[in-house]
């Protein structure tokens, strides 16, 4: 029940860190299996809502996964089969996507986590701060710095 309800949501987060489907699915599976093996894990932290607590579990797994496996595999080659674009357009689109991924991947870890949680997962700043275990002001600062860095880098590179 829990898996069916939440697997898509946590897959989205894992995908933002892993950059490809199979690794993101493996991370989500591992997170749920850890919970299955030790159901008391969550009860030990009853103060937090399940989703908040599980966002923290998945985020930590993603960061561990990335530390173990460098460099980050940004995208696979499925763009080639995209028939909506001509080959040239698809190539251009692919380059843009890779460039954006590279810029986000180059952000400091905490800024990247803040960006993924707030911008891509739609968590409120308060929720994201709770997931990351930081104060609200610190979270806002991380988000702002991430966006400033991205804007500068993307402007520099056109």
């Amino acid at each position: 029940m829990l898996v069916r309800r939440h697997s898509e949501r946590f897959y989205r987060l894992a995908y933002r860190f892993a950059g490809n489907r199979s690794e993101a699915e493996d991370i989500v599976q591992e997170a749920f299996l850890r919970l299955w093996e030790r159901p008391g894990m969550w009860q030990a932290e009853k103060k937090a809502a399940f989703t908040t607590w599980f966002y923290r579990v998945v985020t930590n797994l993603c960061l561990d996964h990335r530390k173990k496996k460098r460099p980050l595999q940004l995208v696979d080659d499925s763009w080639i089969a995209d028939e909506r674009h001509t080959h040239e357009e698809a190539l251009l689109q692919h380059e843009k996507e890779q460039h954006l991924e590279a810029q986000i991947a180059a952000l400091p870890e905490r800024q990247r986590v803040a960006l993924n949680l707030c911008f891509y997962e739609g968590l409120s700043n308060k929720e994201a701060a709770e997931v990351m275990g930081v104060r609200l002001k610190a979270l806002q600062s991380l988000l702002m710095r991430a966006k400033i860095t991205l804007k500068e880098q993307l402007n520099e590179n056109g």
Binding site: Y15, E25, L33, E97, E101, K151
Partner: protein
Amino acid sequence: MTDTPEHDPALQALLQRRRFEPASPGLAERIIAAARRRPQIPSVRDWLGELLAEALQPKPAFALAAMLVIGFVIGGAMPWASGDQDNSLQSYFESEGANL
């Protein structure tokens, strides 16, 4: 609309274009199937709770074991049931026989 990074429409639009692949349709089923193959590890608190719950059950085996223990305790505490008493009784008959 201000032009700070927080509200920069160009940056927002660019970030929205980030690539995303949806999950495989059977992701939840795959996780459930993997969970069925893995045993659960109970926490120490759960394990102790189960142990106490078992111990508090008046099951026949538990009752029989308790009766045996009580029997041994009572038997050991009774002087007439000890081996020494048997020996002294035997020696009594022996001495009585000698007298007769």
